[in-house]
């Protein structure tokens, strides 16, 4: 892919609200994750994208922990072969779960990962939404219920999967690459 097809805009050329959020992320993470600039050339889409992201990934009242959510993202993004999302969200997954090995495991084969049976059921549902959403039926919900998930949790799993399916396609199509910082995050005790 030509790396200059969709050049990232200069930070100072961005609308104030976007610039402010980007600076806030930079302050917190120590760098600007490429998705923030990569999508910023389209401000209206940028605002909708991150509003959606935050509604799903930051909300407090969910039956899914933040680690659970990042695990869904990493697993389904690997199925979609999205380099940016596997590497970036794999990093966040390692940090939230405090398990330095889990991201590589679910990215290669979630059936072999060192996760709970509840997380396995969650990922099975997510993978079906990712790859065969037209075949989802009542039995798929029942498999979730057997592990204590309710229908609101099912919605969270499906919505996170669906949203990152969008994100995966945008990143792959536009040639977005992960920041080098992500690759090592959460792998060593003192990683930022």
């Amino acid at each position: 892919m030509s790396p200059v097809r969709y050049p990232a805009p200069d930070l100072n050329s961005l609308p104030d609200d976007i610039k402010a959020k980007v600076l806030e992320v930079q302050e917190k993470a120590g760098f600007i994750p490429n998705v923030f600039l990569g999508l910023a050339r389209r401000p209206a889409e940028w605002r909708a994208f991150f509003a959606y992201h935050d509604a799903l990934m930051l909300k407090e009242d969910s039956g899914l922990s933040k680690g659970d959510r990042e695990m869904i993202v990493t697993t389904t993004s690997a199925a979609n072969q999205c380099l940016y999302c596997v590497v970036a969200h794999g990093a966040i997954l390692r940090i939230y779960e405090k398990k330095p090995l889990v991201a590589d495991q679910v990215a290669v084969n979630h059936r072999k990962a060192d996760i709970s049976p509840r997380q396995r059921a969650m990922l099975d549902f997510a993978m079906k939404v990712c790859q065969r959403s037209h075949e989802i039926e009542d039995a798929d919900f029942e498999a979730l219920h057997a592990h204590g998930f309710n229908d609101e949790d099912a919605w969270d799993i499906a919505a996170i999967t669906a949203f990152f399916g969008l994100s995966n396609r945008m990143a792959s199509f536009s040639g977005m690459v992960p920041n080098p910082e992500f690759y090592l995050m959460g792998r060593v005790p003192k990683a930022k």
Copy 2:
């Protein structure tokens, strides 16, 4: 699918901004398309969803006509086997393109549809983003350029495909069904 897993909320229970937009749509269309109530049980997600939708589907400065955009939605939603989006956006496609047959054609096999070579190239790109986004390469952009599309148009095609990939998964997973009104819209001269 159980039709009551995710019941639509009562219109009057919705936040004011959402209620206002729903009433506006009802005023214009003569009915409330089910997606507006089906997603409204999650207000934050609802707002992001329609902000994203409008940024892509309503923007004025695009190399894609509104008919082109609905054609992308109908074609890729059929590939994802999403009943709601094929029927609802097929209706809008018929109206925008003023071609009562085209929606059924692209939904079954876009290669056989009575569309322009430029639209065929647009749909080929969209289908690749839909099904194999990890394989998109420079040659795919060059095929678009040969028909007069530039890279901003390519972004529009990809983003619409990606966004409705999200929408397809939400609709299929949650059991959303199209309003009966959509099936006939745009098929007969005086359709509403």
Copy 3:
């Protein structure tokens, strides 16, 4: 596809028996469905095709209603992405079932269609014959029996699926397009 690769023969150039049947269909339907002329350039194949068709679709002593049979045709033809058969047989399905929405539903995703559990089982069997006939086993017959179908009904389902798999391939390969009349048939109360 070049529309002139296999030009339809002139009606008056056809053998008398074929011409007579074509005129009879025209009398009844108000137009000549394209399949009747599209295949008529090969009289021997034409006669065998319609003899087979009539043996399956017109026979009286079947556990499948004529609506059931057209539902199988529409669903499996959509799986084979055959434009002619989805549109033409979708029209007949709407008329036989007196359900103006059902053809679009089964064409997009039969799992979401407003049909009976018995019809769902019928379509599941048909889809397996269509896509994975080498994997049909006793359990597939048992699933039919649970809904009251016997082995003769199973034969009907399989034979209709197999015959229209032939028809789908002939129509797609030869560039056959549906008559415009089919698209609207059965959608409005007084449709012809």
Copy 4:
């Protein structure tokens, strides 16, 4: 598969025309190929099936030799994993082509078979009709033309593929097995 789900009818119970043809085949081959009795329980379907078969496989004025035609049947039936057709038509292929090895070769991988480039092109077209008929386009015809096939030959290739796709599904679904005699036919100099 239960071998008794669709028992073959007694020869003497068949309608006279069918019985006569079966006896004629028996006279010629030395045994009754199972397809003749397996389908005979449905006389109207039987007559249409063999009329279609003969129109395609016995006609004299074709650009395809009878060996070419059996090669198409064997190759596409292997793709459909139909035991009856691979074994029975593989036998006939060996005899027509006077090549005792060719049937096993095309059944496993036609790309590795000891056939002419013209036959390779013929089989590539047949396999696309068999597996992805909705994607057939002008370029596929041009590839045939480059080897001297005209559009009537293309029709023959497609129609044979489509007809045996029907046959494959009927044989697999109904548990039809090849007669033991077929396995050895054409393999040794003095085969019957």
Copy 5:
């Protein structure tokens, strides 16, 4: 495939140990199976290949008969569309099982073959290792146990499948063709 890309070395140019084994095989079989010379241009790989082969296929203390093992090879090699292995090992299968029809049956569709339920379970496991090894789970082992296989037998099935997956890829990639002698072996009473 160019037949001269990887020419077989002259027998007399081979290292003594390889030459000796090749001569021994020739003595026993009456001809040199092409795999012995086709791989011999790389002596170190040749030695490892046949050591692995013999460890799996010749060992005495296995719950699998030699016929069972050749049945696994023939079935999975057909799934991989490897001409050499289907023809060569199909021949050996016929001889070991003393069933002249079984190799063609499992190569086309093992579900229709005239084999025992135990062999059917063995082949189902082998096919899953062949095509979806990442999805193997405890239930797959339990299905084997139900037919009297233990975990050592499961290892044998998996290892034979995995080894011939290697062999299939080497044969297909390098254009290896079966010796003509194999095609007829085991089909007639007095076959060599």
Copy 6:
């Protein structure tokens, strides 16, 4: 997967030659990679496996660098979803190539990896051998030649792919997990 289905044997129970090699690896790596003990319960298979491995991965006279070879292993093992091989050989790839990011890149999507066009061609060939070896044709070799690979290099690429296809199936089927040490190797300047 039950972790105790195939328990690793005690090091001291192994045959001397195997024990010696295991101790040598432990000396060099600082730990015993699980594949060495996981396969050791079958000494004859173990010896053939590592003889094959060494013939391909350690030989000096190859047009492929050791980094190239590990890149093939990591990429195709990811396609086969083999956790052990992706993690273990990804580690070695990072070390040989001195590129801490490349293993994660090729494992997710080799088309997006920061590698040379020559390596991209190498991986395209490897992936075709991995997934569709029956379709390899002269054009695939020509694509390699265009990047300076000769037919011996093509053999190396194919053989490494084929051998690790075997390894992937054995690791996945038997529940082999990567040693924790591999996950971090080669990611940080002073990694062990």
